[in-house]
């Protein structure tokens, strides 16, 4: 008879309606501000700079090589290299960025900067509550706002952080082993920057 399809549809919605009183899995609403979904580990929102130890100035891994500035598709990173150097984790004198701005009103959170960074200095953050009504100051994060500790990195991406730390520890051990050898011959050429994967060392891409 004519209305039979419509009745079947209404039966479907009725089943869902009455079913929601019985089985909880039909209620999919998450009452956001009070109740939050468990955070998915690989989530990414905006980049942040990782620093080891407690002092964010000294422990910052970034050496201002400006590879991420060149590779960033929407060009939303600005780096000013410092003139002087500071010792990095291994004790070797490295530059550090005097200014490191990310304009999060342009950033498309595509994590290419994380992929191309040879020093694991920049990683993707997961925080969500960023709406602001201050257009010019609120959306330009400077070095201080970006710097977050390695423990925080372990908090948000545990497995990935563990893998990065293992790789870094291995390189630091290799660099330590090479250092006594390097100490005997005159100033050895600056040891190649530790490179986790296979991309070339510091080669200019242009």
């Amino acid at each position: 008879m004519v209305g039979e399809g419509i009745l079947k549809g209404l039966a479907e919605t009725a089943r869902n309606f009455f079913g929601s009183y019985v089985s909880k899995e039909r209620l999919t609403t998450v009452q956001y501000p009070e109740q939050r979904l468990p955070r998915i580990e690989a989530a990414r929102s905006f980049p942040f700079l990782v620093y080891d130890g407690s002092d964010w100035q000294q422990g910052m891994r970034c050496v201002g090589c400006q590879i991420c500035e060149k590779e960033c598709p929407p060009k939303c990173i600005l780096i000013e290299k410092s003139k002087d150097k500071k010792p990095d984790a291994v004790g070797k004198q490295q530059f550090y960025p005097a200014v490191f701005d990310i304009d999060i009103s342009v950033c498309m959170s595509c994590q290419i900067c994380v992929e191309v960074c040879p020093f694991d200095a920049i990683k993707m953050d997961v925080d969500v509550d960023l709406p602001t009504d201050n257009r010019f100051a609120g959306l330009l994060l400077d070095k201080q706002q970006l710097a977050k500790s390695n423990e925080y990195y372990h908090g948000i991406h545990p497995t990935e952080a563990a893998a990065v730390d293992a790789a870094l520890a291995a390189e630091r051990a290799k660099a330590q082993a090479k250092k006594p050898a390097a100490a005997t011959p005159p100033a050895a050429p600056p040891s190649a920057a530790p490179v986790p994967e296979a991309q070339p060392v510091g080669g200019e891409s242009k």
Partner: protein
């Protein structure tokens, strides 16, 4: 049905059309067929009706600006009485042109892409090319887009208007020599070319 057989059948059926196979050095091996503008419509109709290419999937505009080719040429020159061979850098200007590529497929025989290329005389006035919309209806919107972004005028197109930009817009933005409009007032993370544009803006508008 590789390119050579298609070329020979075309030359047999379409009198005095100038065809040229352009070799594609990349491993994809998709060599293309350059056809002159006058006989393009006849070649296209033949390809469509008897060669079975009934599916024109993609129409692309490409801008080749005038290039200066400098190559080393061995020139025999009398230098202080002695016949010596010196290599001299000769600069030859390759005239620029606008090119339109049609990727044709045959649905029945399931043959791969046959890129059909057409080139205009130059990039200023002689930008007229025959429209292939009467042959393949799919070229209608894509030819309008090539007209809008590159400036190639397709003769015989049923409704040649700008597709993407607004109608009062005058220049053709996808050409290599197009300069973006200047709205660089607030560039907090300007570096490299964005920095030059921001400085240009600062100099033109003066320190605000």
């Amino acid at each position: 049905m590789d390119l050579e057989t298609i070329k020979s059948t075309l030359e047999a059926n379409v009198p005095d059309c100038r065809l040229e196979v352009i070799v594609n050095p990349s491993p994809s091996g998709q060599h293309s067929l350059l056809v002159d503008a006058e006989h393009a419509f006849a070649v296209a109709s033949f390809l469509r009706s008897s060669a079975g290419f009934n599916y024109c999937s993609n129409v692309t505009g490409i801008d080749w600006p005038a290039k200066e080719l400098s190559e080393k040429v061995k020139v025999k020159k009398i230098v202080d009485g002695v016949e010596t061979e010196i290599d001299e850098v000769s600069k030859t200007m390759i005239p620029g042109c606008l090119e339109v590529v049609y990727h044709l497929f045959s649905m029945s025989e399931k043959i791969g892409p046959l890129p059909l290329r057409m080139r205009t005389q130059d990039r200023a006035e002689g930008v007229h090319l025959p429209s292939l919309t009467p042959v393949w209806r799919s070229a209608e919107l894509q030819e309008r887009e090539v007209f809008d972004l590159f400036g190639v005028v397709f003769d015989g197109h049923p409704d040649l208007r700008r597709l993407l930009m607004w109608d009062e817009f005058e220049d053709h933005p996808m050409r290599r020599d197009y300069v973006n409009p200047d709205d660089y007032e607030y560039e907090p993370t300007a570096h490299d070319d964005v920095l030059q544009r921001a400085n240009q803006h600062r100099s033109t508008v003066g320190e605000r």
